[in-house]
């Protein structure tokens, strides 16, 4: 069973209880400097802040309304970070969570190359730049809670309005479409159903997603499939190109005049 979360943007009141819950469950320090008075400035996630709620003032016709969007790792079905990592420091678990340093065995295999940060289409992995030996940090979908009697993630359990709903992914997707079809206000789109091959976190909204800071019109193919399309040729190129070069070398060698390299080169005299 793969789990997911359905985020109903229309129900979020921007209280940021989820952010606090995330910080306290995962024992992450607060960064006071981040809590700005200006609500309209998009807040960034960082290595100590794995989720963030952004406030968007949206104009629709003559109306203006606030919409609040919780962002965190989307937990892709086929994660770009997992495919980009050359030490298997990311894994997509069967429960649906994408986690870093997944098992006791590979606690410390990350080399800190930060290719996952280049790869992630949602710019989620963050790096502990201030540490001597930094780790990558990101939302773990509260994998510890998930595997402990399938408890809801900390953020979901803290949500007072039911904007976040945790459950089996397919059921949540069906519910998302049921809400959309039952209410004409919703945009006819479940964000995360198809984006980058689908994600475990999905959003529905009454405001077009591009006005809420989402990347829209993105590819529906998973990112690992792009890479693999190129990478799968590697062994063939290695063998084929190697064989061709060997053949050419042997062929031209017979026709060329041999040289005594010892006579030809000499150290330079620095004048």
């Amino acid at each position: 069973m793969s789990n997911g979360v359905l985020v109903d943007v229309t129900k979020c009141i921007g209280c940021r209880s989820c952010v606090t819950a995330c910080k306290s469950w995962n024992d992450l320090p607060d960064r006071v400097a981040q809590n700005t008075e200006n609500w309209d400035v998009p807040l960034q996630m960082d290595s100590d802040t794995w989720t963030q709620v952004n406030y968007n003032l949206v104009g629709q016709g003559t109306q203006r309304k606030w919409r609040f969007v919780k962002r965190q790792c989307m937990h892709c079905e086929e994660p770009a970070c997992e495919s980009a990592c050359f030490t298997h420091s990311f894994v997509k678990t069967k429960e649906g969570a994408v986690i870093y340093k997944p098992t006791d065995l590979n606690q410390d295999y990350c080399v800190g190359c930060r290719y996952c940060m280049i790869a992630c289409p949602f710019d989620i992995p963050k790096f502990q730049y201030e540490e001597r030996f930094p780790y990558v940090q990101k939302c773990r979908f509260c994998y510890d809670r998930m595997t402990d009697g399938n408890k809801r993630p900390a953020c979901v359990s803290a949500c007072p309005t039911g904007a976040l709903k945790y459950g089996e992914k397919e059921a949540l997707l069906a519910e998302g479409w049921k809400r959309i079809n039952g209410n004409a206000q919703y945009v006819k789109h479940v964000y995360g159903e198809k984006e980058y091959g689908g994600t475990s976190w999905m959003y529905i909204s009454d405001v077009p997603f591009d006005q809420l800071g989402f990347k829209v019109n993105v590819t529906e193919r998973s990112i690992p499939s792009y890479t693999w399309q190129v990478l799968k040729w590697t062994p063939y190129i290695f063998v084929g190109w190697g064989a061709l070069l060997t053949a050419m070398r042997l062929y031209t060698k017979g026709k060329s005049v041999a040289h005594d390299e010892h006579e030809m080169y000499g150290p330079v005299d620095p004048k």
Binding site: M45, S83, A84, F86, T87, H88, N106, D108, Y109, C110, V111, G112, C113, R114, M117, I118, A119, P121, D123, F127, Y129, E131, R132, F133, P134, Y135, V218, T219, P224, Y226, T227, W228, Q229, V230, L231, T234, I237, F238, W241, G242, L245, T246, M248, R249, T252, S256, V257, A258, H259, D260, H262, E263, M264, Y265, G266, P267, V268, D269, P270, K271
Partner: protein, 390 residues
């Protein structure tokens, strides 16, 4: 070696300055290892890769492309007239790779873990291929260089082993760089929807390996001219001129494929929409691709030393410009924020390239790398002896 000579390294004011840069860089590097990346770099969550990856690694490896293109021309196709430049190309390439490995080592956060990918096979990652190929190829180059090393340092048994290994080493020494030069481009395939479509393409591995190859002759020309100037020798002009044909035709193909690719993906119009990215792209294409093609195509220009050197400088600068556009220009819009390298990042970079120059000078002054002057500009006088092959 006709007559044995002791080790020598002349100190000049310029070299003293370079040594100062190297010492400064070493101190900065030690500081970085102890206090972490945040203490010396301006890298951030938005800009995880900066000067060291963008310039030292991506450009360093591309600039070292002279090694594998020359190896292909000289040792596989046996175009013997290019023999005079073969060893110098190998040397600069080898130093370039060592520098790239050092910069990679500096850049990774958990540097004591650098060896992990050897044992934990993330083969679905492009970086895995890059890492393996670069490490192996650096080893191959060191072994190839060993053959030259033992011409000076007498050790017949080792020299014999290396001599026997030379053919597989030479072949590996072309296959491995072909693979990772393209993979350095493939690294950015993952950045679909992030890297500007003027640069993002499924063909980016082809563009990277192709440009690294045609850059080779240009780089050899510049190195050769600089070495000739520094040591008051005659530049190997006939060799440079003859190499321009390789670069010329490969650049024409590069340009045509680029146009076809842009049209196929339907993003051609974005090159002319007046945005910052489009302007940078046009500069890259016109100044650094079309202009050198014209310079190379006109005999009156390419037969002069200034002509071939100007065109070569443009080609080399163009490849650097292209890599910078991929790493910085093309990514800027999607990741936001800004990045400009810190003083320390610059210092370490300058220190590493200073080390390259110093090491090059030391090696050519002590090992048989450059052709003896009596063989310059007389192609027919390359000594030949039956039974001994290059």
């Amino acid at each position: 070696m006709s007559k044995p000579r002791n080790w020598s390294f002349r100190i000049t004011w310029f070299r003293l300055l370079l040594i100062c840069f190297v010492i400064g860089a070493v101190i900065a590097a030690l500081y970085r290892f102890y206090f972490g990346l945040g203490s010396v770099t301006h890298l951030s969550d938005r800009w995880p890769w900066g000067l060291w990856i963008g310039f030292d690694l991506l450009c360093g490896i591309a600039l070292a492309g002279g090694g594998f293109s020359t190896a292909l021309i000289v040792h596989v196709l046996h175009k013997d007239k290019y023999l005079p430049i073969a060893r110098a190309a190998l040397l600069t390439s080898m130093i370039g790779y060592i520098i790239s490995l050092i910069s990679l080592f500096l850049d990774i956060g958990r540097w004591y873990n650098f060896w992990r990918p050897f044992f934990y096979w993330g083969f679905h990652s492009v970086l895995f291929e890059v890492f393996w190929c670069i490490s192996l190829y650096t080893t191959v180059q060191v072994l190839e260089f060993g053959d030259i090393f033992f011409e000076k340092v007498n050790c017949p048994s080792l020299k014999k082993i290396l001599g026997a290994l030379m053919t597989p080493l030479l072949i590996l020494g072309i296959v491995l760089p072909s693979l990772h030069q393209s993979s350095l481009g493939s690294l950015y395939i993952v950045a679909v929807d992030k890297l500007n479509p003027l640069w993002w393409s499924m063909l980016i591995p082809f563009f990277f390996v192709w440009s690294a190859f045609f850059l080779g002759p240009a780089m050899v020309t510049i190195e050769g001219t600089l070495a000739a100037r520094a040591y008051r020798r005659e530049a190997e002009l006939p060799v440079f001129q003859s190499l321009t044909k390789v670069t010329l035709w490969m650049m024409i193909i590069y340009f045509i494929v680029k146009i076809i690719d842009l049209n196929y993906r339907g993003v051609m119009s974005q090159a002319f929409n007046g945005s910052y990215e489009s302007n940078m792209f046009l500069i890259e294409m016109i100044v650094f691709v079309l202009l050198p093609i014209f310079l190379y195509a006109i005999p009156a220009i390419r037969t002069k030393l200034w002509g071939v050197v100007t065109a070569s400088v443009l080609v080399v600068a163009g490849v650097v410009f292209n890599r910078m556009n991929v790493v910085f220009t093309g990514m800027a819009k999607s990741v936001g924020g800004s990045y400009f390298p810190s003083f320390w990042e610059f210092l370490i970079t300058i220190g590493m390239w200073s080390f390259l120059i110093l090491f090059y000078c030391f090696v050519v002054e002590n090992f048989p790398i450059l052709p003896k002057e009596e063989y310059l500009s007389h192609e027919s006088s390359i000594p030949s002896k039956p039974g001994v092959h290059a």
